[in-house]
């Protein structure tokens, strides 16, 4: 039944509104359900993405922007980019997963929002039933996510991460005290997204990145079986 509800809700982006829309003050146009693609001007394999993907990660200004603690910054500078978990087909960090240039399908069902990522076939379950985080969390790759609605904005609080993934591809490690808060708000064909990252063992203060996604109602989520032909194991 849940899967049927999810399958129904994904249709909402381009067709009639689902029942879930009735709770949104902004109506169907404010529903975050749909397929979304980061809007950054990147091209796979193209030269235009060099600003976003410098071959040399030691961008001097990075440390001025990201409030690393000294030890975390040292780890970052010493890391080998090919040691990131994604290289080995293990899950990426939550920030990498949310911001990488692959589409995300957002589905709604009673008591939950589900994010289906094309990248790595990852799935995030965000529970909106009000139960909150479990008291005894087992730490996992993508943590435990609970959501609540602030008007038409979905606010997602996530804790319970393990300390294995990287927040980027180049060595931004984190501890199991990582805590993130995300905000999803639709404005027409744009999904406004922010991600606040807090980790007292890695950063001196919380910091936030903002990013937009573009609606792609005609797209389908493709299969991504990372282990199929990974030459960078």
């Amino acid at each position: 039944m849940v899967m049927l509800a999810l399958a129904t809700s994904i249709l909402a982006q381009s067709s009639q509104p689902s029942k879930a829309h009735e709770t949104l003050s902004g109506g169907p146009d404010s529903d975050i359900v749909g397929i979304w693609m980061p809007t950054l001007p990147r091209r796979v394999g193209g030269v235009n993405d060099t600003l976003l993907d410098p071959a040399d990660k030691r961008t001097p200004d990075s440390a001025k922007v990201v409030p690393f603690l000294p030890e975390a910054e040292a780890r970052y500078k010493a890391a080998n980019p090919l040691d990131n978990t994604a290289t080995h087909c293990l899950p990426p960090g939550i920030s990498f997963l949310m911001l990488v240039a692959y589409p995300i399908a957002i589905l709604r069902a009673p008591g939950r929002v589900v994010l289906v990522h094309e990248y790595m076939n990852q799935v995030r379950w965000i529970y909106t039933d009000g139960a909150g985080h479990p008291k005894d969390l087992e730490h996992t790759w993508l943590g435990d996510s609970v959501g609540k609605w602030d008007g038409d904005t979905l606010v997602v609080d996530t804790i319970g991460f393990n300390d294995k993934s990287w927040l980027d591809l180049h060595g931004m490690t984190h501890s199991d005290e990582l805590h993130t808060v995300e905000r999803f708000h639709r404005r027409g064909a744009v999904l406004e997204y922010s991600l606040t990252i807090e980790d007292p063992k890695t950063f001196s203060q919380p910091w936030t990145v903002h990013m937009d996604y573009e609606a792609k109602p005609d797209w389908k989520i493709a299969e991504f079986v990372c282990e199929e032909n990974n030459k960078y194991k």
Binding site: V44, T87, S95, A101, D168, E198, W207, D212
Partner: protein, 122 residues
């Protein structure tokens, strides 16, 4: 606690997104960013696979020496949205393959475009 806000500025891209490339699986750290290399040859093999697609091209120089170049491209799902298919190349096709060369000097590139008799894929 005060939250450090980072908007959609260049630095926002630098700090976190600098590391979040379009070439998502492992980034492109092993490739040169400022150089483009182009080779012409004949397709030996085309791997339409995740996490990345690979095109192997046999290249002959003026002296008749043969070399094999490996071109790495994106995931099939993303490439398909730009017109690539599993049948885009077959062994024996003549192609001109361009991309960023590997830093280690091997005959490998991160594909930016491939020109065939039927057009250009990028």
């Amino acid at each position: 606690m005060k939250v450090k806000e980072i908007g959609l500025s260049m630095f926002a891209l630098v700090c976190l997104l600098a590391a979040i490339p379009a070439f998502g699986h492992h980034g492109s750290a092993e490739y040169e960013t400022e150089q483009v290399v182009t080779v012409e040859g004949v397709v030996k093999q085309f791997e339409w696979t995740n996490p990345h697609t690979w095109l192997y091209v046999t290249v002959a120089n003026d002296k008749g020496e043969i070399a094999e170049w490996a071109g790495e491209a994106g995931a099939p799902g993303m490439l398909a949205r730009r017109g690539w298919t599993s049948h885009s190349f077959k062994p024996g096709d003549k192609v001109k393959m361009s991309g960023r060369p590997a830093k280690n000097g091997s005959k490998q590139m991160l594909i930016s475009k491939v020109q065939t008799d039927g057009g250009v894929l990028q």
